[in-house]
């Protein structure tokens, strides 16, 4: 009995931490891993920069009125200069301003598309993976069919069938995008289902709903986060592609893809009308890709603990 007291007292004295301190420790470790990885820092900074610029667009851009309907043919096709960092386009609008506002559209596109498709895909994946049997077959075979359709082509088809607007374009992409997340989560769910902590929850008497959301979903989160981050790049690219082909935003709104499309005809002489929007897209997608890679490195280790 003396030993038992000794143990309890030693245990009590070692841990006077409270919930807050444990949380602080967890965040501290995560940040340590994150900042050790130069990739994630770089990507994170790039993304943060773009987001800030997009949010504060009316305040940081020199000519916010150029983003909408504006014409100034006298100033058309100005080369990049101190007053117009990226030059002007064929109507005389400041390209830098339009690029920043273009970021707004791209990011909004990504948020809406992923905001619809990710929850949808995750829920379907969890259901299919957990319940198995006929439910699984129905969901996964449907997923297979959708996966067989290339997203860009599908989006093109939908947009071409109806009058093209940016909203239709987003819905078109979302209608296919959920399948990737569904498949991802389905795979993880199936493997987690056999883990003993899920069996333990059965033994306790948890309802299926509780098990799915409290036991299985948290284990999928890191994969979902990483994939979503990497998806942003793809979605923006597809959106830009649609706009490039004239099926996305309509003028006078400035979308990066549309800008590239209009500017392409003036290559190579008026190069700035194409090059800067292209670099803008490149910068954003690269940022998200690096961030996604970094997040994956950081989150993968989390389950093992340091």
């Amino acid at each position: 009995m003396k030993n038992k007291q000794k143990v309890l007292s030693s245990v009590n004295s070692e841990f006077t931490t409270t919930q807050w301190m444990v949380l602080k420790d967890k965040i501290g470790r995560a940040w340590y891993r994150f900042r050790r990885n130069s990739i994630s820092i770089t990507g994170g900074s790039m993304v943060l920069l773009v987001i800030l610029l997009a949010i504060l667009a009316p305040y940081v851009t020199p000519y916010p009125q150029h983003a909408g309907a504006f014409t100034d043919f006298l100033n058309a096709f100005q080369t990049p200069s101190k007053s117009h960092w990226f030059g002007t386009d064929e109507i005389g609008r400041d390209l830098f301003t339009r690029v920043i506002f273009g970021y707004r559209i791209s990011l909004m596109l990504a948020v809406i598309v992923l905001g619809i498709s990710v929850p949808l895909g995750v829920i379907l994946g969890l259901t299919a993976g957990y319940f198995g049997g006929r439910i699984e077959t129905i969901i996964m075979r449907t997923t297979d069919v959708f996966l067989a359709l290339p997203p860009l082509v599908m989006a093109l088809a939908i947009c071409a069938a109806f009058t093209p607007t940016i909203e239709r374009a987003m819905l078109a992409i979302a209608s296919i995008w959920w399948t990737w997340h569904c498949r991802l989560v389905h795979g993880i769910t199936r493997s987690i289902k056999t883990e003993e902590f899920v069996q333990a929850s059965w033994v306790i008497g948890d309802s299926h709903f509780r098990i799915i959301f409290k036991d299985i979903l948290p284990n999928c989160m890191s994969a979902i986060i990483v994939k979503t981050t990497l998806d942003v790049g793809f979605v923006i690219l597809i959106g830009a592609g649609l706009s490039f082909l004239g099926l996305g935003t309509q003028p006078p709104k400035s979308d990066l893809g549309t800008m590239i499309s209009y500017g392409a005809q003036y290559l190579p002489t008026k190069w700035w009308t194409t090059v800067f929007p292209s670099f803008a897209i490149l910068f954003l997608i690269l940022g998200f890709n690096l961030l996604g890679d970094g997040l994956r490195d950081m989150l993968d280790v989390e389950t093992e603990g340091i």
Binding site: K6, V7, R29, Y32, I306
Partner: protein, 336 residues
């Protein structure tokens, strides 16, 4: 010294750089294995035996690991000072490892024969006197090795995939692969723990017979004291990255001197029944803020003030029986 010992670890220190600071996992251990000797390294999880094994095998990733001092002599040559190229020469040929889990140690997408072929051929390439052994000769060598581990129908085994074999058979294959290049030192990491008791008994029997016949030294690393008792001649008890006691196996098991060894042995359930001791109070030490002095003192029922101040030296009790404990130190400590 000289060539009496096949393995000689002298005052080895291994530290790791982690989030919280420096983790001093191994803080000065010494270990000797003579030619043809069967030595056990016993300890529980976190005592540092796996790190020791990796160091001897040259498998440590040097950052984040740091080796501030110490020497590891394999047959007279210091492994820690070898270049990667030299290390590659001795791995698999002079020193061989049988890993813990036969399920995972074999690659499931290649047949046993193909993996065996790699093992033999890799060794041959390093010694130019081998030259180009034809496939035929390699195959013969492999079949002979499989026969030695008493596998029925070696031809069929060689053509099988690991998943087609039972756990016991896979373990025998691993032993055969480890012995085929005639190593001088064999390291067995938790042999048989993944196997059933009846199969484990067969495997341990086989292993001890083979190393005796071939005159190979063997280092058995495990936390299972029963395995130590049945397969080794001499044992080192490790705790907190240090050697607590070392003696011939029978001597130590009959009469453990160090409080940790005593606690450990009394915690083992006996086949003849009876109560088991209450275990050892407390938990494994944190290697970043390791206990001062003797690393076991916070958990020791016999701790004295000096135990927290200075590390106890290894005191010799009888020939070949050493204890690191102030209860037995003749100088520099107080004896009750």
């Amino acid at each position: 010294m000289g060539n009496k010992y096949i393995l000689e670890i002298r005052d080895l220190h291994v530290h790791f750089r982690v989030y919280e600071g420096i983790s001093r996992v191994i803080d000065g251990i010494s270990l000797y294995i003579a030619k043809g000797e069967r030595v056990g390294l016993a300890g529980e999880t976190g005592c540092g035996k796996t790190v020791t094994m990796k160091t001897v095998m040259g498998m440590l990733k040097i950052p984040p690991a740091i080796i501030p001092c110490g020497e590891v002599y394999l047959n007279g040559r210091d492994i820690l000072k070898m270049s990667p190229k030299e290390l590659l020469q001795i791995k698999g040929t002079e020193i061989s490892v049988i890993f813990q889990d036969p399920m995972n140690a074999l690659n499931p997408v290649f047949t046993v024969g193909e993996q065996f072929y790699d093992v033999i051929r890799f060794a041959q390439q390093r010694f130019s006197n081998g030259g180009n052994l034809f496939r035929e000769r390699i195959r013969n060598k492999m079949i002979a090795a499989l026969k030695e581990v008493i596998l029925p129908d070696p031809e069929r085994i060689a053509n099988s995939y690991p998943l087609e074999l039972s756990g016991g058979m896979r373990q025998r294959v691993l032993i055969a692969m480890a012995l085929v290049n005639n190593p001088k030192l064999l390291i067995a990491d938790e042999p048989g723990t993944a196997l059933d008791v009846t199969i484990q008994a067969q495997i341990l029997n086989l292993m001890t017979k083979l190393v005796e016949v071939k005159g190979i030294s063997i280092l058995i690393i495990t936390h299972n004291l029963g395995v130590i008792k049945e397969t080794t001649e001499r044992v080192y008890i490790m705790y907190g990255g240090k050697v607590m006691e070392t003696a011939p196996t029978n001597v130590l098991f009959r009469n453990p001197k160090h409080p940790y060894s005593q606690g450990l042995l009394s915690s083992v359930p006996r086949l003849t029944g009876g109560e088991i001791a209450e275990g050892i109070p407390g938990t494994v030490p944190d290697y970043i803020t390791a206990p001062s002095g003797c690393r076991f003192h916070p958990r020791c029922n016999y701790a004295m003030p000096i135990c927290a101040q200075k590390e106890p030296p290894l005191t010799m009790l009888e020939s070949d029986h050493y204890v690191a404990c102030y209860l037995y130190a003749k100088q520099g400590g107080q004896n009750e």
